[in-house]
Symmetry: C2
Subunit: 223 residues, 2 copies
């Protein structure tokens, strides 16, 4: 383990698997009917598909929340999870590569709802320049470094072909980007301080085939 | 742990995390220059971003491969990984929801390269019916159960809105589908024998923000 010095004791205890479960709990709590005053660990466990004990352990790590036998206040719980995940603030992001996948992500309401705002669009195809999509004008990828810095974007979403992804990532690093969500099926080489989450869609389908083939019934628990 | 009786001893030892790493190794090995006769664990480790020791442990679990000090035959290694993951065969899949994301997935070459063939397209929008995309005609979602069974599809890719995903999934279950790759931001309830991989794009962005916020430098190792 090799954690950043800025990490607090509490966040050092939060594993990536736990962070992923918290994201799922947040999705469930966020959709809880507004008339309901409480939500129980059992209700979250049922909705998300992990054990009640796992939910209670994960939420106990966030501090003193909820009352035994009563449950959690959905609003208080959502706020505590957002704080733990670091999404109790706005994040500005640029999107590079305005093909079908890029457009799908732009139209995806979930990003904005969770505090992520796409503030710039870039593409290398001259035919796409100056198109307006979801209120943003597509800009040339040659301007990526200067514009990303000017837009004060901290995150980038990469939906470019595999053979250009590394060069685009380096332009983003030069702009001071802090994290990249990469959809290109390639392993990007980035400086250690720039975080990377890669979503390789073929790998997701391979993992599904693996589970079908081998009958993997395990729930996503690790503790 | 609660594994299917059909799982072999070897596959019981392959965790989901290990299966994900094998997918990454396969991507690396598959792109290895065809003139090169060998690939070393160190070269795979460097390309994928995990430790050499982790690669050697993962590959040792596949059986007797490679020679000490010489390395692995890339073709033999790729075949061994495909066998371990259960993708040394063709998988037939249907795709439901022909919006931007569905179209992006259809055009994505990685699926076919890894043995996944999309054999049917379905949508509920009358305006999309009978459109031809990548050689396939869009069919009405009302025919989903009958057509999926007739097409002998084992897997389904769901790119429909969250509020219709559960109903569509149930139509697929009725058709005898074995696994669903779900992009709708909702937790589907499926019978235990049907496998599910959900790719929630907002969750991926949340996980990136979490890593940026908390300086999580850990590589994806678990052993």
């Amino acid at each position: 383990m090799n954690l950043d010095n800025q990490s607090t004791e509490r966040h050092q205890r939060l594993s990536r698997a736990a962070a992923q479960r918290l994201s799922l709990y947040l999705r469930c709590v966020g959709r809880w009917p507004s008339g309901e005053d409480t939500i129980s660990s059992g209700q979250i466990a049922e909705a998300v598909g992990v054990s009640d004990a796992q939910v209670r352990r994960d939420l106990a790590a966030l501090g003193h929340l909820g009352q035994r036998g009563v449950g959690y206040d959905p609003r208080e719980l959502a706020q505590a999870i957002r704080t733990a995940l670091g999404i109790d603030r706005q994040w500005r992001a640029v999107l590079v590569g305005v093909g079908n996948l890029g457009r799908a992500l732009l139209k995806y309401q979930g990003f904005r709802a969770q505090g992520f705002e796409i503030v710039g669009l870039f593409d290398s195809d001259p035919a796409k320049l100056d198109q307006e999509i979801e209120g943003l004008r597509v800009e040339p990828v040659e301007h990526l470094t200067a514009r990303t810095a000017a837009l004060q974007a901290e995150l980038a979403v990469l939906t470019v072909p595999a053979d250009t992804a590394q060069a685009v990532a380096e332009s983003l690093v030069a702009a001071g980007i802090r994290g990249i969500l990469n959809f290109a099926p390639v392993v990007l080489k980035l400086p250690r301080q720039v975080r990377l989450v890669t979503v390789d869609l073929a790998i997701q389908l391979e993992q599904l085939a693996f589970q079908v083939q081998h009958g993997d019934f395990r729930p996503p628990e690790d503790d």
